[in-house]
Amino acid sequence: MFFEKKGKDELKEDDLKKKEEVESKEVDLKKEESKNSGGKVSIEKIKEKLGKSVDFACKEFYVNSNKDLPVAIVYINGLIDSLKTSEFILQPLAESETLKSAQTPQEVIELIEQGALYYSSQTKREKDEDVIKDVIEGSVALVFGQEGIAFTFDLKGFERRSISEPTAENVKKGGKDSFVETLRVNTATIRRRIKTPDLIIEEKVVGKQSLTQLNIIYIDGITNMDIVNSIKKRIDELDIDEVLSIGKLDEHINEKKYSVFPQIDHTERPDKFCTDIIEGRVGIIVDGLPMGVIVPAEFAKLLQAPEDYSEDPIIASLIRLLRYFLLMFTILLPGFYVAVTTFHPEMIPTELAMAIAESKEGVPLPIFFEVILMLVAFEILVEAGLRLPRTIAQAVSIVGALVVGDAAVTAKLISPGVVIIIAIAAIASYAVPNQDLSNAIRLWRFIFVILCSIIGLFGLIIGVILIIFDLAKMETLGVAYLEPFVENKSMQIGDSIIRLPFKFLKYRPNFLKTSNKKRLG
C-alpha cells in the first residue's frame, strides 16, 4: 500500500512538473508576446508570485473614483514609507485636478509619465519580473492591469541603523562616522567625500536567493581597469545562494585560497575606504554589511593604520617600524624561547639563564608543552571572550588570566618565564592593525613553536623561510603580496615600513598600475 501510494505521489509530482513546464513555456510565450505588444504586467501574475506571503499588500481602487480607471497599488509592508505613499501617490490619484481630466487609462498613464505624480524616482515597467524585483527592493508599484503597464516608485522606508561611531577601528584624529548596513547610505557617504564625477559606482546583484546588491566603486582615470574588470568577472562568476557574510565574497576574490594571510582589506571607516580608492584600489560595498572591502591589499598595506596619515611623519614612521618589529616579535618569540631554553642555553645571558632555570625548577612539563599549553589557553580566552556577553567576558578574562595564571605559576604547573613570554607575544599581536593578519600570525606562532621544539633555532630559520615563501608566492589581481618590497625597478619604500612626509609621496603605488600615476604636481 505504502509503496503504491508513494508511487502515486511520484506520479503526481511528475504530472505537476510537466504542468509547470507547460506553464513556464506558456509564460515564456506570453513574455515574447508582451515584448511584441509593448507591455504586459498583470496583477494576477504578481499576486501569484508574492501573494503567499503575509507582508504582501495589494489594493485595487479607481483613479478619482472613476470606475473606468481601475488601478492597483502593490507593495511589501514594512519596506515602504506609508506616509509618503499616501501623500505622494494615493492623494494625487484621488484628488489631483490634472488627473480628473483623464477619461481612459492610457490618458492616465500619459499624464503620470508627464509628471502628474510628483515623485522623483519613478520608473515605467512593462514586465512582471521587473515589477516584482522593484517591489521586493522596497518600491511601490502602481499597476494598470488593463494596459499591462506599471509604475514603480522608490519609496523605501524600512527601519535602518543610523550612522554611528566605528567600533573596531577607532582613531584619535579622523572622521567619527562608519559604514552602516544600508548600501545607499554608504555610497552617499563615499560620494560626500569623493566629489569628482569620475567616481564610478557600478552595481551587481549576487546570490541566487538573497539577490544582494553589491557596488563596485572606483575612479575612472585613476584605477587600473584590468583590476576592475577582473573583479567584475569574478563577481559575475560567483555562483552562490547568498552573500550575507563577507567571507563568501572574499574567498571568491582571493586568488590563493589556502594561505591564512588575508589578501583583502576590510574597513568600517569611510575615510580609509576613500583614501584607498583615490590611491587606485577598488572598493566593494555589499548591501547589508556595514563594511567596505578593499582589493587588492598587500602585506605592507595591512600593517598601515589610518592614524599614520594624521600623525607627524617621524612619529608615524617610528610607530610603523615598531609595528613591524612587534609583528616579528609576536611570531618568533614563543618559538625562540623554546629553542634557546631547550637547545641553545649559550644564547641566553648567564644571569638570565640561571634565573629561568631556577624558576623552571620543579615544573613537570617540558618548556615546549608549557608554551603550547599557554598559547592554547590564550586562544581559549580570546574565543571565550568573543562569545560571552560583554559584562561576563570581563570577569572570565580576569579569572582566566589573573587567577588561573597566578595559581598555575604558584602550583608550579607553568613556569613564570613562559607566562611572561606568552603575555608579551599576545600583547604584541594586538599591535597589528588588521585583525585577519593578526589571526594568521597566531596560527603561524604554533608552527614556529613546533619547529623550534624539534630542531631549535634551525627550526626557527626554516619557519622564517617557509613564511617568506608563503608570502612571496601570493598574488592578488596581479599585485604581488610583498609589494613594494619585491619591486625591482623603483621600490616605493616611502609609504611602507616608514611614512615619509606627503610632499615626497609624489606617485601612487606603481604596483597598482594606475592610469594616473602622479599624486602630486
Binding site: 631554553t341 631547550t342 637547545f343 642555553p345 649559550e346 648567564t350 639563564a353 640561571m354 629561568i356 632555570a357 631556577e358 623552571k360 625548577e361 620543579g362 615544573v363 613537570p364 612539563l365 617540558p366 618548556i367 608543552f369 621544539s453 624539534i454 630542531i455 631549535g456
Partner: protein, 383 residues
C-alpha cells in the same frame, strides 16, 4: 600524560636540567702526579657525591679527579644530576702546581671544546690550588665569579694586571718567540670576616705569572708588572707619586698612556726603542706651593718620566734575566723585518738577553681638576 614524551627529540635538554658553571678550577692532583683535578661551583641541589653545600647562596662545590679534565668532567656526571654546560664559563683558575707542570696540558680541553668560548679569562692562583680558591673565596652575598669579574673590571685602575682572554693566551702559546704572561690572583685576608666559622679569603689581582715553555717560572708584580703593561699597551690608568721642591707628595693620575715598540736593524744589529706617550692630571697635593708654573711642572714631568722609565726598565731587566720575551719585542721585530727575522728567530732568547733597549717617555700634565692652587696657599708664595 607526557611522561612518555620526555625524550622524543635528541639533543633537547630542558633548561632546569642544565647546570651552568661559570668559574672552574684546573689543578694537579695531590695524590697522583698524572691526574688532574676539576673543581667548580654549581647552583642548586646537585645530588650526593663529593658535593658539599657552601653558605646560603645555594651553591655546591664539586671536585673530581680524572686522567684528564674531560675524564674528570665525565666522572662528575656519575653523581651530579645536572647536565654540566660549559658555554657560560667566564673564569678558569689554574693552581700553581698545575701551572708549574704544563699549562698547555690543562688548557687543551678548554680550547678544543665547542661550548667553551675563547673570550673567557684565565688566571693563575699564586701559592694555592684553584680548588682552594673556589672553596675559600667569600661567597656569602656574592659569587666567586662576580668577585673575580669585578677584579678584572677594576684592573685598569691600577694597571698592575689586566684581563687576558683564552684566545690571546692561546695565541701567545702558539708563538715561537714570545712568552706567555697570565694574570694571577693571590688569596689574602684583607676584609676580616668569617663565614659560618670558616676562614674566608679574598682574591687579589696582583700582577702576572710568567711562563717559559708553558711552565710557570715566576711572578711579576707592582712596578715591574706595571712596566710590562705600559709596554704591552695593557695599562689603562694608574697613579704616580712625585715630590715638589719642598719634598711634599704630589699624586698624579695617568689619564692616557700609549707605547710603541720600534725595532731597528742596522749592520745586522738590532736596536729597539720603546716610546711611551702619556698625559696625566694632578689629583692630590700635600704641600701649599704653586706648582703650576713652568719650572715646577717641568720638574714634576721629569720625575714622572723617571718613574715610568724605571718601571719599564725593571720589566725589561726581569725579561732579560729570565730570557722570556713577554714584552712583545720579538713580535715587533718580526712585523717590521719579516725576512731578517728568520735569522734571529732561532736564537732569539739569547739575542734578546743582550738586546739594547732604550726607553723614551714623553709626559705631559694636563689638568688639575677643580682647583688650580691648593687650598690655604700663602699669598706670598703666589709670585
Amino acid at each position: 600524560m607526557f611522561s612518555g614524551c620526555e625524550n622524543i627529540v635528541k639533543g633537547r635538554i630542558e633548561i632546569d636540567k642544565t647546570g651552568f658553571i661559570r668559574t672552574v678550577a684546573f689543578d694537579k692532583s695531590k695524590e697522583n702526579d698524572d691526574n688532574m683535578k676539576l673543581t667548580f661551583a654549581l647552583k642548586g641541589k646537585s645530588g650526593g657525591g663529593n658535593a658539599k653545600e657552601s653558605g646560603s647562596s645555594g651553591f655546591s662545590i664539586i671536585s673530581e679527579e680524572g686522567k684528564t679534565i674531560f675524564d674528570a668532567n665525565r666522572k662528575v656526571r656519575t653523581f651530579v644530576s645536572k647536565n654540566i654546560f660549559w658555554g657560560h664559563m667566564v673564569f678558569i683558575l689554574i693552581g700553581e702546581d698545575a701551572a708549574k707542570d704544563d699549562i698547555i696540558k690543562y688548557l687543551d680541553f678548554a680550547t678544543r671544546n665547542q661550548d667553551i668560548r675563547y673570550t673567557l679569562n684565565v688566571m693563575i692562583v699564586k701559592g694555592a690550588t684553584g680548588e682552594e680558591a673556589i672553596n675559600k673565596i667569600r661567597t656569602k652575598d656574592i659569587t666567586v665569579t662576580e668577585t673575580l669579574s669585578s677584579l678584572i673590571d677594576n684592573a685598569g685602575d691600577v694597571s698592575v694586571s689586566s684581563k687576558l682572554e683564552l684566545g690571546e693566551i692561546v695565541q701567545m702559546l702558539d708563538s715561537e718567540y714570545s712568552c706567555v704572561y697570565i694574570p694571577y690572583i693571590e688569596l689574602v685576608n684583607k676584609i676580616k670576616e668569617e663565614e659560618d666559622g670558616k676562614e674566608v679569603l679574598e682574591p687579589s689581582l696582583e700582577g702576572y705569572a710568567i711562563f717559559k715553555d708553558a711552565k710557570l717560572i715566576g711572578y711579576i708584580n707592582g712596578g715591574t708588572s706595571r712596566g710590562a703593561n705600559w709596554v704591552n699597551n695593557k695599562g689603562d690608568t694608574g697613579t704616580t707619586i712625585v715630590k715638589d721642591s719642598k719634598g711634599k707628595d704630589i699624586c698624579l693620575e695617568i689619564i692616557n698612556i700609549k707605547s710603541k715598540t720600534i725595532p731597528e736593524i742596522k749592520d745586522d744589529k738590532i736596536k729597539v726603542k720603546i716610546e711611551i706617550n702619556m698625559t696625566s692630571d694632578v689629583t692630590e697635593y700635600e704641600g701649599r706651593e704653586d706648582i703650576f708654573k713652568e719650572k715646577a711642572l717641568k720638574d714634576i714631568e721629569k720625575q714622572q718620566e723617571d718613574i715610568i722609565k724605571n718601571e719599564v726598565k725593571s720589566a725589561i731587566k726581569y725579561a732579560k734575566e729570565k730570557e722570556v720575551d713577554f714584552l712583545g719585542i720579538g713580535d715587533a721585530v718580526y712585523h717590521k723585518y719579516p725576512i731578517e727575522w728568520e735569522i734571529y728567530k732561532k736564537k732569539w732568547p739569547k739575542t734578546f738577553k743582550n738586546l739594547p733597549i732604550s726607553v723614551d717617555v714623553m709626559t705631559k700634565i694636563n689638568r688639575t681638576h677643580n682647583i688650580t692652587q691648593p687650598t690655604g696657599m700663602k699669598e706670598g708664595n703666589k709670585k
